[in-house]
Protein backbone atom coordinates (compact mmCIF):
# COMPACT_ATOMS: atom_id res chain seq x y z
CA UNK A 1 0.00 0.00 0.00
CA UNK A 2 1.27 3.49 -0.81
CA UNK A 3 0.70 7.01 0.41
CA UNK A 4 1.91 9.95 -1.67
CA UNK A 5 2.55 13.34 -0.18
CA UNK A 6 4.46 16.60 -0.51
CA UNK A 7 7.61 17.58 1.38
CA UNK A 8 5.75 19.02 4.35
CA UNK A 9 3.65 15.88 4.77
CA UNK A 10 6.67 13.68 4.24
CA UNK A 11 8.71 15.39 6.95
CA UNK A 12 5.80 15.31 9.38
CA UNK A 13 5.01 11.61 8.91
CA UNK A 14 8.57 10.33 8.96
CA UNK A 15 9.46 12.34 12.06
CA UNK A 16 7.85 9.66 14.25
CA UNK A 17 8.88 5.98 14.50
CA UNK A 18 5.26 4.99 13.94
CA UNK A 19 3.92 6.66 10.82
CA UNK A 20 0.65 8.46 11.45
CA UNK A 21 -1.50 9.29 8.43
CA UNK A 22 -4.07 11.81 9.51
CA UNK A 23 -7.66 11.62 8.32
CA UNK A 24 -8.90 14.75 6.56
CA UNK A 25 -11.86 15.88 4.50
CA UNK A 26 -11.10 15.66 0.76
CA UNK A 27 -12.00 18.72 -1.35
CA UNK A 28 -15.29 17.14 -2.44
CA UNK A 29 -17.46 16.43 0.57
CA UNK A 30 -19.06 13.39 -1.06
CA UNK A 31 -15.79 11.60 -0.38
CA UNK A 32 -15.56 10.47 3.22
CA UNK A 33 -13.18 11.97 5.73
CA UNK A 34 -10.15 9.76 5.80
CA UNK A 35 -6.49 9.04 5.28
CA UNK A 36 -6.15 7.98 1.63
CA UNK A 37 -3.91 5.36 0.04
CA UNK A 38 -3.45 3.51 -3.23
CA UNK A 39 -1.90 0.28 -4.38
CA UNK A 40 -0.66 2.08 -7.49
CA UNK A 41 3.04 2.88 -7.47
CA UNK A 42 4.78 6.03 -8.71
CA UNK A 43 5.20 4.43 -12.14
CA UNK A 44 1.44 4.21 -12.69
CA UNK A 45 0.79 6.36 -15.78
CA UNK A 46 -1.11 9.56 -15.14
CA UNK A 47 -1.84 8.59 -11.52
CA UNK A 48 -2.27 12.17 -10.38
CA UNK A 49 -4.67 13.00 -13.17
CA UNK A 50 -6.74 10.02 -12.09
CA UNK A 51 -6.71 11.27 -8.50
CA UNK A 52 -7.25 14.93 -9.45
CA UNK A 53 -4.49 16.29 -7.26
CA UNK A 54 -1.48 18.57 -7.78
CA UNK A 55 1.84 17.11 -8.90
CA UNK A 56 3.47 18.46 -5.73
CA UNK A 57 1.64 15.72 -3.84
CA UNK A 58 3.55 13.02 -5.70
CA UNK A 59 7.03 14.02 -4.61
CA UNK A 60 7.31 11.55 -1.73
CA UNK A 61 5.99 8.09 -1.02
CA UNK A 62 5.46 5.86 1.99
CA UNK A 63 5.05 2.12 1.33
CA UNK A 64 3.78 -0.37 3.90
CA UNK A 65 1.75 -3.49 4.49
CA UNK A 66 -1.51 -2.47 6.17
CA UNK A 67 -1.53 -3.40 9.86
CA UNK A 68 -5.30 -3.01 9.81
CA UNK A 69 -7.40 -3.58 6.67
CA UNK A 70 -8.23 -0.44 4.71
CA UNK A 71 -11.56 0.24 3.02
CA UNK A 72 -11.91 0.42 -0.74
CA UNK A 73 -13.31 3.86 -1.57
CA UNK A 74 -16.18 2.29 -3.51
CA UNK A 75 -16.83 -0.43 -6.05
CA UNK A 76 -16.53 1.93 -8.97
CA UNK A 77 -13.92 4.68 -9.03
CA UNK A 78 -12.19 3.22 -5.98
CA UNK A 79 -11.87 -0.14 -7.69
CA UNK A 80 -10.71 1.25 -11.02
CA UNK A 81 -8.26 3.72 -9.48
CA UNK A 82 -7.28 1.48 -6.55
CA UNK A 83 -8.17 4.00 -3.88
CA UNK A 84 -8.34 2.90 -0.24
CA UNK A 85 -8.94 4.88 2.91
CA UNK A 86 -9.13 4.77 6.66
CA UNK A 87 -11.99 6.82 8.14
CA UNK A 88 -9.77 7.71 11.13
CA UNK A 89 -6.11 8.49 11.63
CA UNK A 90 -4.08 5.48 10.53
CA UNK A 91 -0.94 4.29 12.30
CA UNK A 92 1.71 2.12 10.69
CA UNK A 93 4.24 0.70 13.14
CA UNK A 94 7.81 0.05 12.15
CA UNK A 95 7.09 -3.67 11.69
CA UNK A 96 4.78 -2.87 8.76
CA UNK A 97 6.85 -0.13 7.13
CA UNK A 98 8.53 -1.07 3.87
CA UNK A 99 10.13 2.09 2.53
CA UNK A 100 9.82 5.84 2.23
CA UNK A 101 11.50 8.57 0.26
CA UNK A 102 11.35 10.73 -2.86
CA UNK A 103 9.53 9.26 -5.84
CA UNK A 104 11.79 11.01 -8.31
CA UNK A 105 8.71 12.64 -9.80
CA UNK A 106 8.49 16.39 -9.80
Amino acid sequence: MNHFTDREGYNGIRSQPTWLFKAAQPPQTRHPVGAYFTTFGPDEPNLFKKLFIPNAKREFIFSFTPPVPLQLLDEKRGKVHQIYYSPADYSVPRSHQISHGPTGLQ
Binding site: A24, P26, P27, Q28, R30, H31, Y36, P45, N46, F48, K49, K50, L51, F52, I53, P54, N55, A56, K57, R58, L73, K76, R77, V80, I83, Y85
Partner: protein
Protein backbone atom coordinates in the same frame (compact mmCIF):
# COMPACT_ATOMS: atom_id res chain seq x y z
CA UNK B 1 -5.80 12.47 -0.79
CA UNK B 2 -8.34 12.25 -3.52
CA UNK B 3 -9.91 14.98 -5.61
CA UNK B 4 -12.57 15.21 -8.26
CA UNK B 5 -16.32 14.82 -8.33
CA UNK B 6 -17.86 11.78 -10.01
CA UNK B 7 -20.88 11.95 -12.27
CA UNK B 8 -22.21 8.55 -13.19
CA UNK B 9 -24.61 7.03 -15.68
CA UNK B 10 -25.62 3.45 -14.97
CA UNK B 11 -26.38 0.76 -17.52
CA UNK B 12 -24.18 -1.16 -19.91
CA UNK B 13 -22.34 1.35 -22.11
CA UNK B 14 -22.45 0.79 -25.85
CA UNK B 15 -19.99 2.03 -28.49
CA UNK B 16 -22.75 4.46 -29.49
CA UNK B 17 -22.62 5.96 -26.00
CA UNK B 18 -18.91 6.69 -26.34
CA UNK B 19 -19.41 8.27 -29.74
CA UNK B 20 -22.24 10.41 -28.39
CA UNK B 21 -20.16 11.46 -25.42
CA UNK B 22 -17.37 12.66 -27.66
CA UNK B 23 -19.68 14.38 -30.14
CA UNK B 24 -21.54 16.20 -27.38
CA UNK B 25 -18.30 17.33 -25.80
CA UNK B 26 -16.93 18.51 -29.15
CA UNK B 27 -19.72 21.07 -29.24
CA UNK B 28 -18.46 22.60 -25.98
CA UNK B 29 -14.76 21.96 -26.43
CA UNK B 30 -14.04 22.02 -30.20
CA UNK B 31 -10.28 21.89 -29.61
CA UNK B 32 -10.61 18.97 -27.22
CA UNK B 33 -7.66 16.59 -26.83
CA UNK B 34 -8.10 12.96 -25.76
CA UNK B 35 -5.39 11.07 -23.92
CA UNK B 36 -5.67 7.39 -23.06
CA UNK B 37 -5.26 6.63 -19.36
CA UNK B 38 -1.88 5.00 -19.92
CA UNK B 39 -0.67 8.08 -21.78
CA UNK B 40 0.13 6.00 -24.87
CA UNK B 41 -2.35 7.72 -27.18
CA UNK B 42 -3.05 11.42 -27.58
CA UNK B 43 -5.38 12.61 -30.32
CA UNK B 44 -7.77 15.38 -31.20
CA UNK B 45 -11.40 14.56 -30.63
CA UNK B 46 -11.98 14.85 -34.40
CA UNK B 47 -9.36 12.17 -35.07
CA UNK B 48 -10.85 9.89 -32.44
CA UNK B 49 -14.29 10.20 -33.97
CA UNK B 50 -12.99 9.85 -37.54
CA UNK B 51 -10.99 6.74 -36.71
CA UNK B 52 -13.81 5.25 -34.72
CA UNK B 53 -11.67 4.70 -31.69
CA UNK B 54 -12.58 3.70 -28.18
CA UNK B 55 -10.92 3.02 -24.86
CA UNK B 56 -12.19 2.28 -21.39
CA UNK B 57 -10.35 5.02 -19.52
CA UNK B 58 -9.23 8.34 -20.88
CA UNK B 59 -8.79 12.03 -20.17
CA UNK B 60 -10.44 14.81 -22.14
CA UNK B 61 -8.75 18.21 -22.13
CA UNK B 62 -10.34 21.45 -23.24
CA UNK B 63 -7.37 22.12 -25.53
CA UNK B 64 -3.68 21.40 -25.94
CA UNK B 65 -2.70 24.13 -23.46
CA UNK B 66 -4.84 22.46 -20.80
CA UNK B 67 -3.15 19.11 -21.42
CA UNK B 68 0.29 20.69 -21.18
CA UNK B 69 -0.67 22.36 -17.91
CA UNK B 70 -1.92 19.09 -16.43
CA UNK B 71 1.22 17.27 -17.61
CA UNK B 72 3.44 19.85 -15.96
CA UNK B 73 1.57 20.71 -12.77
CA UNK B 74 -1.24 18.24 -12.19
CA UNK B 75 -4.27 19.97 -10.73
CA UNK B 76 -4.02 23.76 -10.31
CA UNK B 77 -6.57 26.49 -9.63
CA UNK B 78 -6.32 27.50 -13.29
CA UNK B 79 -6.61 24.12 -15.04
CA UNK B 80 -9.04 22.29 -12.74
CA UNK B 81 -11.98 23.05 -14.98
CA UNK B 82 -10.22 22.07 -18.20
CA UNK B 83 -9.97 18.29 -17.84
CA UNK B 84 -12.52 15.49 -17.54
CA UNK B 85 -11.51 11.98 -16.57
CA UNK B 86 -13.67 9.24 -18.09
CA UNK B 87 -14.14 5.63 -17.02
CA UNK B 88 -16.19 3.30 -19.21
CA UNK B 89 -16.85 0.13 -17.24
CA UNK B 90 -19.10 -2.90 -17.70
CA UNK B 91 -22.13 -1.30 -16.15
CA UNK B 92 -21.51 2.42 -15.89
CA UNK B 93 -20.02 5.50 -17.47
CA UNK B 94 -18.25 7.76 -15.00
CA UNK B 95 -17.06 11.28 -15.78
CA UNK B 96 -14.92 12.95 -13.12
CA UNK B 97 -14.48 16.72 -12.92
CA UNK B 98 -12.69 18.91 -10.43
CA UNK B 99 -15.84 20.28 -8.81
CA UNK B 100 -19.54 19.51 -9.02
CA UNK B 101 -20.74 23.08 -9.48
CA UNK B 102 -18.30 24.08 -12.19
CA UNK B 103 -18.42 24.70 -15.93
CA UNK B 104 -17.07 21.25 -16.64
CA UNK B 105 -19.53 19.82 -14.12
CA UNK B 106 -22.43 21.36 -16.02
CA UNK B 107 -21.03 20.13 -19.34
CA UNK B 108 -20.80 16.60 -17.99
CA UNK B 109 -24.34 16.73 -16.62
CA UNK B 110 -25.59 17.75 -20.08
CA UNK B 111 -23.61 15.00 -21.80
CA UNK B 112 -24.81 12.23 -19.52
CA UNK B 113 -28.36 13.49 -19.78
CA UNK B 114 -27.99 13.47 -23.58
CA UNK B 115 -26.74 9.87 -23.58
CA UNK B 116 -29.55 8.86 -21.25
CA UNK B 117 -32.13 10.49 -23.51
CA UNK B 118 -30.70 8.81 -26.63
CA UNK B 119 -30.80 5.43 -24.94
CA UNK B 120 -34.46 5.95 -24.10
CA UNK B 121 -35.25 7.01 -27.67
CA UNK B 122 -33.38 4.00 -29.08
CA UNK B 123 -35.45 1.69 -26.90
CA UNK B 124 -38.54 2.96 -28.67
CA UNK B 125 -37.13 2.38 -32.17
CA UNK B 126 -37.56 -1.14 -33.64
CA UNK B 127 -34.16 -2.84 -34.18
CA UNK B 128 -34.57 -2.87 -37.96
CA UNK B 129 -34.69 0.94 -37.96
CA UNK B 130 -31.86 1.46 -35.52
CA UNK B 131 -28.64 2.88 -36.96
CA UNK B 132 -25.58 0.65 -37.12
CA UNK B 133 -23.47 0.84 -34.02
CA UNK B 134 -20.48 3.09 -34.32
CA UNK B 135 -17.50 1.12 -33.10
CA UNK B 136 -15.04 3.37 -31.34
CA UNK B 137 -11.62 1.88 -30.56
CA UNK B 138 -8.13 3.21 -30.12
Amino acid sequence: MIGGFEFELGGTPSPDDVGRLLRLLRVKWPACILESADGAVTATIQDVLRNRSSTSQFFLYRDLAAKRSWDEHGLTEENGDAMISVIIDEDFIMMIVNAQDSVSGHIVKEILQGIHTCRNVNRLVPPSYAPKSQQVTI
